[in-house]
Symmetry: C2
Subunit: 159 residues, 2 copies
Amino acid sequence: MTTSGLTFSPEIEARLDAAARLCSQQGATLTPLRREVLGLVLASDQPIGAYALLDHLRRSRATAAPPTVYRALEFLLERGFVHKVERLNAFIGCPSATDHAGHDHPHAVQFLICTCCGRVTETEDEGIASAIARAAERAGFRHTRATVEIEGVCRACAG
Amino acid sequence: MTTSGLTFSPEIEARLDAAARLCSQQGATLTPLRREVLGLVLASDQPIGAYALLDHLRRSRATAAPPTVYRALEFLLERGFVHKVERLNAFIGCPSATDHAGHDHPHAVQFLICTCCGRVTETEDEGIASAIARAAERAGFRHTRATVEIEGVCRACAG
DNA sequence: CCGAAGCGCGTTACACTATAACATTGTGGA
DNA sequence: TCCACAATGTTATAGTGTAACGCGCTTCGG
């Protein structure tokens, strides 16, 4: 094994390639480090914390430190490739960011956090988004973004 | 000064008294420590962090440590006297908890976070709550509570 | 060719947030 | 009296996040 970095499943590699294309369209670079961090987030079926990412990262980059992963995450967050789940202090990959290219305005997203299995799914519910917009306007509040994190039990766990 | 603890404004003292009454109705006790922590949260015009609370607390209780304030906050959170703003890792007093007594089911609340002045106001918007309930049901998700934190610029800051 | 400027990352150190675990105190009841 | 429990004290540590400085590399104008 002389390859640099990790290799992920074909599905994830395809999404990483798509992310790389989006980056270069924007004049940014999905460097090997950023690609690896994004791959690790995508490969996790649950939200993953920064220090868990760091542990994984160190398998291929022994000297990685907190700023290593936080800087990569900052880059990925800015571009919408990953999201942060505030209640969990953890990160998830954004399914839509690499699917349909370059939706410029950051769609309002919501998270469904299953307290049973720990998985988090993302939705883009227009009803919630517009209800928030109306409530903000009614309060004279010029809103820029909203964090919506819904806790409960997912369909699979509820049986 | 031989009084124990701090003293707050008459408005806040009145709310503290109301909270104490609610506690005793529930068989709980708003101890001097808990009362003081709640008073400090209510006296802050912005969300206040646990360690800022700890600093204030130490003026009257020199030996206070992190668990001191976190345990008081846990008690106050459980009863809805304070809320945590996840994006800020900080706490705010709940205006409605001490106003109208004993609404048993925890109303869905939302926060409007002004990125300009740092103040956070609380709303109880039925439109947002029902939109969340609909979206969750559509996803087969049995939701128990939702965190809604809306960032933007408040009316006062926007001018 | 040279030097400045900017990006990406390494590296060290530290700040901030939160909890575990055990000890102590006081109160009320069997 | 002894026990049980609630509340807090106390010590230590875990978990999350950032500041600050330096270095190598590329690019680009002079």
